[in-house]
C-alpha cells in the first residue's frame, strides 16, 4: 500500500513551502555572520569605536533574522520523520549521518556562541569576543556544509548500497559522500550566494542611510566592506555555479536537459538556449535564441561530447525501468526466501535501477508484469517540469551577472571615495535588495524541483517516501504553518524596518560612532 496521492501532494507542498521559507533567512545568516567577523576584525586592528558599533548594529539585524532561521530550520528536521517516514527509514543509515554531524559540529557552535556574542561585549576581552564572532560564522558555514553534503547525496547518491534484509540503503563509504564533487560544488556555490546576500543587504541599507544623509561615516565604511566582499563572492557564485552545472551535466543529465528546454540531443558542441518557451506536451521549445557551442562547453567541458536531449534520456529511462522490474522481481523472491542465491545475483546486477522499477508502483501493484504502456508512463515520469526549470534557472543566472556588475561599480566607487556622490547608484543599490533572495529561491527550485520525480535521484520516487498520514493531518499541519509563518513574517519585517529606521545614530551614543581610535591605544588618528 502506498500513501494516497493527495497526501503526497500536500506533504510535498508543505515541505517545499517550509523549505523555501527557511531559505529566506539562511543566506542572510551566512553572509552577515561573516561580515560581522570582518567588521569586528577591523575594530580589533584599528581600535576605532565605529567598527565596534558597526558590528553591533548589523548584529542587531542579524539577531532579528537568525531567530527566524533557527525557528524555521527545526521544522525541516522534524518533517523528514513526520511526513517522509518511509524516506527516513529507507536512507536514514546514510542521510542521517550528515544531519547528525550538522548538530554536532555546527549547531552547537552557532547556538552556544550567539548568546555570548550579544551578552558578552563587556564581559570578555576584545580578542575573546572576536573569536566568538568568528566561531559564530564558522558554525553557520559548517551547518551549510553538512546540510549540502546531505542534499548532494539526494541529488547524486554515492557510497551506499541496497540491503534487502533491512529493505533500505546502507552506508559503505562515507568518504565518497563527504568528498563528493557535487557536495563540494554545491557548498561553495550556496555559501557564496549567502555572502552575496549579506553583502547586498549591507550595501542596500547603507545606501538608504546615504540617500537620507544620515550615518554617513557608518554607511560608507559598511558599503566599502560590502562592496569588496560582495564582488569576490558574486564572482565565486557564478564561477562555482558553472562548476555545479558541469557536475550536474555529468550526474543528472535529465535536469540539465530540462533546464535547457532541450528535447533532442544536439550535435556536439551543443548550443546554449538563452531564451525560449518549452512546451511539455508537444516536446518542443519555441521562439529560441541560441548561442552556439556554449552549453557543450559548460556541461561537458569539451567540443566533442554530446549533451543528451530529453527524448533520448526518456529512452534510456525506459531501459532502466525494465531493469528495475528484474530487480523488483528478485527482491520479491528474496522477501520470501532470503537464501535464494540466484535472486540475489539478479538483484545485485540490477541494483542501481530498483528505483526505476518503483516508479511503476504508481500505475500497478504488479510491477513485475507491467504493460508497455505503464513502462512508457514511468519513463516519461522522469522528465521534470521543463518550463519552470528553464525559466527559474534563467532568472537566477541573470541575477548572478547583475550582482557582479553592481558590486564591481560599488567597489570602483568606494576605491575612488565617491560612494555618496551618485544618487542614481544609491537608488539602484537600495532597489536591488530583494534580488539575492529571488536568486536563492530560484536556485533552490532548480535544484529540488528539478530533482523530481525522485526524492533521492534514481533511488526512490518521491511518492514512495511519504508517510502514511491522513489528509486531515496534513491540512491541520499546513494551516498551522501558514498561520504561524505568516504572523512571524509580519513581525520580523516590522522589526527589521523599525531598526533600520532607527539607525545607528538613534541606537548608539555619538562617542560609539567615533572614527578616532580609543584613547588607550596611542595610534595616529587618521581615519580609515
Amino acid at each position: 500500500m502506498l500513501p494516497a496521492s493527495d497526501v503526497v501532494m500536500l506533504s510535498r507542498f508543505q515541505f517545499g513551502m517550509t523549505a523555501l521559507y527557511h531559505f529566506l533567512f539562511v543566506p542572510l545568516t551566512l553572509g552577515l555572520s561573516t561580515l560581522l567577523g570582518i567588521m569586528e576584525t577591523v575594530y580589533c586592528m584599528t581600535h576605532r569605536p565605529i567598527w565596534r558599533t558597526m558590528t553591533q548594529y548589523w548584529g542587531i539585524l542579524f539577531g532579528i533574522n537568525v531567530a527566524m532561521g533557527v525557528a524555521t530550520g527545526i521544522t525541516l528536521e522534524f518533517q523528514f520523520g513526520t511526513n517522509w517516514a518511509y524516506y527516513s527509514h529507507y536512507v536514514g543509515d546514510v542521510f542521517g549521518v550528515p544531519l547528525a554531524l550538522e548538530g554536532l559540529m555546527a549547531f552547537f557552535l552557532e547556538a552556544t556562541f550567539i548568546g555570548i556574542f550579544f551578552f558578552g561585549w563587556d564581559r570578555i576581552s576584545k580578542g575573546a569576543h572576536l573569536l566568538v564572532t568568528w566561531m559564530l560564522a564558522a558554525g553557520a558555514s559548517f551547518s551549510a556544509l553538512w546540510i549540502l553534503i546531505a542534499n548532494a547525496w539526494m541529488q547524486h547518491p554515492v557510497g551506499a548500497y541496497f540491503n534487502f534484509h533491512t529493505m533500505r540503503m546502507e552506508l559503505y563509504d562515507f568518504y565518497s559522500i563527504f568528498f563528493s564533487e557535487v557536495a563540494q560544488a554545491k557548498f561553495v556555490h550556496t555559501i557564496s550566494a549567502g555572502y552575496v546576500t549579506g553583502s547586498l543587504f549591507v550595501l542596500s541599507i547603507s545606501a538608504y542611510f546615504l540617500l537620507r544623509g544620515r550615518n554617513i561615516a557608518f554607511a560608507k565604511r559598511s558599503m566599502t566592506v560590502a562592496a569588496a566582499f560582495g564582488l569576490a563572492s558574486a564572482l565565486c557564485v557564478v564561477v562555482l555555479g558553472d562548476e555545479s552545472g558541469y557536475l550536474t551535466g555529468l550526474n543528472q543529465k535529465m535536469k540539465v536537459a530540462a533546464m535547457e528546454g532541450m528535447w533532442e540531443t544536439e550535435p556536439a558542441p551543443a548550443p546554449l538556449t538563452v531564451i525560449g518557451f518549452p512546451d511539455q506536451s508537444k516536446h518542443v521549445t519555441t521562439y529560441t535564441i541560441k548561442i552556439p557551442y556554449l552549453l557543450g562547453l559548460i556541461a561537458t567541458r569539451s567540443l566533442h561530447q554530446p549533451v543528451y536531449g530529453i527524448l533520448d534520456l526518456v529512452e534510456q529511462a525506459r531501459e532502466r525501468v525494465k531493469s528495475g522490474m528484474l530487480a523488483y522481481n528478485a527482491l520479491s523472491a528474496l522477501q520470501i526466501d532470503p537464501t535464494d542465491k540466484r535472486a540475489e545475483d539478479v538483484l545485485d546486477a540490477n541494483q542501481e535501477n530498483i528505483g526505476y522499477g518503483l516508479l511503476l508502483k504508481q500505475y500497478t501493484d504488479d510491477v513485475v508484469r507491467a504493460t508497455a504502456d505503464q513502462i512508457n508512463r514511468a519513463a516519461w515520469d522522469t522528465v521534470p517540469d521543463v518550463f519552470t526549470l528553464f525559466w527559474t534557472f534563467r532568472v537566477m543566472v541573470a541575477c548572478g551577472f547583475f550582482f557582479i556588475a553592481l558590486f564591481a561599480v560599488a567597489f570602483y566607487l568606494s576605491l575612488r571615495r565617491r560612494l555618496s556622490k551618485y544618487r542614481w547608484f544609491l537608488w539602484i543599490a537600495l532597489l536591488s535588495l530583494p534580488l539575492p533572495w529571488l536568486a536563492a529561491e530560484m536556485g533552490w527550485v532548480v535544484a529540488e524541483y528539478g530533482r523530481q520525480p525522485w526524492i533521492v535521484d534514481g533511488l526512490l520516487p518521491t511518492f514512495m517516501g511519504a508517510s502514511m498520514l491522513t489528509t486531515t493531518n496534513l491540512w491541520i499541519s499546513l494551516s498551522g504553518f501558514v498561520f504561524f509563518y505568516t504572523a512571524l513574517a509580519v513581525v520580523e519585517i516590522y522589526l527589521m524596518v523599525k531598526y533600520i529606521g532607527l539607525g545607528p545614530d538613534q541606537l548608539f551614543k555619538p562617542a560609539q560612532l567615533s572614527v578616532h581610535p580609543e584613547k588607550m591605544q596611542g595610534e595616529k588618528g587618521d581615519t580609515l
Binding site: I64, L99, F108, G115, I116, H165, M167, E170, M468, V491
Partner: protein, 380 residues
C-alpha cells in the same frame, strides 16, 4: 574493531546521554519559562528572569536537535515511527518549542510597548510549558506502547488516533515532567537571581520537588501493578540485521520491572531520581543553591534513566502488532554508520562540553537590576 552488538548497546546508552543532556540543560530554561509569570512581578523582574536564561537557551535547545539527528542516523526506525506516529503532537511541539520559543526570546524586548512585551511573555510561558508536558506525554506513550505496524516492505502504519495519546498514565507522565522541570528551573533561577525572585523560585522549586517525588513513586507503582509492559517471546540475534519483523513479543503487566531483578545495579536509576529530588528539596536555600541544582540535575538524570533501564532492550514497543516493536537489537543503523557516528561523537562531544562550559563561565554571576541596565541594548 567493535562488533555491532556492542555498538548497538553503546548507542542505546548514547541515546540516553543525549536525552539527559537535553533535559538537564534545556530543562532548566523550560522550568524558568514556566516560572516567569509566577516569580516575576514587574517588568524589571521579568527581564531579570529572561536574561538569566537568555544567553543559554539556544545552546541548550541544540541537545534536542542533535538528539533527533542522532536518532535519525543511529535509530532510523525509531525516528521514522515516532515522528510520523505522533504527527500532531510533534506538530504542537514544533509550533511551541521549535518556532514560537526562539522568536519570543529574541523579539520580546525589541520594542518598549507594554502589550507587545506581555504578549511575548505568554509565548515564553507556552514555550516552556507545552514542551515539558508533551515530552512527558511522549515518554508515557513509549512506556505503554504505540499502535503501529510494518508491512513486508517495512513501510510504517500508525493505527491509533490523536486522542489515543492522552490517557491517564500518559498524562500522569506529562505532569511528572512538568514538576521535574519546574524544580530544576527554579533552582537555576535561585543561582542566577537575587531576592526576592530567588526566594520565590526556591519556594516553587521545593513544592515541585515534593510533587515530583510523589508522582514518580505513584508512577512506579502504576508501572508495577497496572501497566502492561512487554517482553521478548523468542530468542533474538543481537548481531542480526536490523529488521524488526523477526521476533515475538508478549505483553505482560509489570514486565517493565524485570530488569531490576535481572540486573540489581539498575536500581540506581530510580534511586537517583528520588535521592536527587530529596536533596534538592532539603538543600534548596543552602549557600548559593549550587548543590541543590546539582541534586536536581541528578534527579532529572535518574528519572530519565529509569525509563530507559525499565524498558531495555525495548526502545519503542508496538501495542497492536507486538512483533513490530523496536528493540536495541533490531532497529539500529548498520555497523559502519554506528561506528562512524561513535567516532564523531567521541571527538566532538568533549569539544562541545569544553566551549559550552567556557561560555557559562564567562557569563557567570547573578543577573540583577544593575546588569539589565548595563546591557540595555543587548538584553532580552
Amino acid at each position: 574493531m567493535m562488533d555491532i552488538e556492542t555498538l548497538r548497546f553503546i548507542w542505546w546508552v548514547l541515546l540516553g546521554v543525549l536525552l539527559i543532556g537535553f533535559a538537564v540543560t534545556d530543562g532548566f530554561d523550560f522550568g524558568a519559562s514556566m516560572l516567569l509569570p509566577l516569580v516575576a512581578k514587574n517588568e524589571t523582574e521579568r527581564r531579570i528572569v529572561l536574561n538569566a536564561i537568555g544567553p543559554f537557551w539556544e545552546g541548550n535547545q541544540v541537545w534536542i536537535i542533535l538528539g533527533a539527528g542522532a536518532i535519525f542516523a543511529a535509530w532510523p526506525f525509531v525516528y521514522a515511527v515516532a515522528f510520523s506516529g505522533f504527527y500532531l503532537l510533534m506538530l504542537l511541539l514544533l509550533l511551541t518549542m521549535g518556532i514560537s520559543r526562539p522568536v519570543s526570546f529574541k523579539y520580546r524586548s525589541k520594542l518598549p510597548n507594554h502589550f507587545w512585551r506581555r504578549f511575548w511573555d505568554q509565548i515564553v510561558f507556552i514555550g516552556g510549558f507545552f514542551p515539558a508536558l508533551i515530552f512527558g506525554i511522549l515518554v508515557g506513550n513509549v512506556l505503554t506502547g504505540v499502535p503501529f505496524y510494518f508491512d513486508e516492505n517495512l513501510r510504517i502504519f500508525y493505527s491509533g488516533s490523536f486522542w489515543d495519546l492522552f490517557r491517564p498514565f500518559t498524562l500522569w507522565c506529562g505532569l511528572t515532567s512538568i514538576a521535574m522541570l519546574v524544580m530544576h528551573g527554579g533552582l537555576y533561577l535561585a543561582i542566577k537571581t537575587e531576592p526576592p525572585i530567588r526566594e520565590r523560585a526556591i519556594v516553587w522549586s521545593r513544592w515541585a520537588a515534593v510533587i515530583l517525588i510523589l508522582f514518580f513513586a505513584i508512577g512506579g507503582f502504576w508501572v508495577a501493578q497496572g501497566l502492561t509492559g512487554y517482553e521478548l517471546g523468542s530468542p533474538i540475534d543481537h548481531a542480526g540485521f536490523s529488521n524488526p519483523l523477526h521476533k515475538q513479543v508478549l505483553p505482560k503487566v509489570g514486565a517493565w520491572l524485570h530488569n531490576y531483578t535481572l540486573y540489581p545495579l539498575s536500581m540506581l536509576a530510580p534511586a537517583l531520581g528520588f535521592i536527587g529530588a530529596l536533596g534538592a528539596l532539603l538543600t534548596a536555600n543552602f549557600g548559593n543553591s549550587r548543590f541543590a541544582f546539582f541534586c536536581s540535575s541528578l534527579s532529572v538524570m535518574g528519572v530519565i534513566a529509569t525509563v530507559g533501564v525499565s524498558m531495555f532492550p525495548f526502545i519503542l514497543p508496538s501495542s497492536t502488532n507486538l512483533a513490530s516493536s523496536l528493540l536495541v537489537w533490531d532497529a539500529s543503523s548498520s555497523r559502519l554508520t554506528l561506528l562512524f557516528m561513535l567516532v564523531a561523537v567521541a571527538i566532538f562531544l568533549p569539544i562541545i562540553l569544553l566551549y559550552t562550559s567556557w561560555v557559562y563561565h564567562a557569563l557567570r554571576g547573578k543577573v540583577s537590576r544593575h546588569t539589565i541596565d548595563q546591557d540595555e541594548h543587548s538584553a532580552y
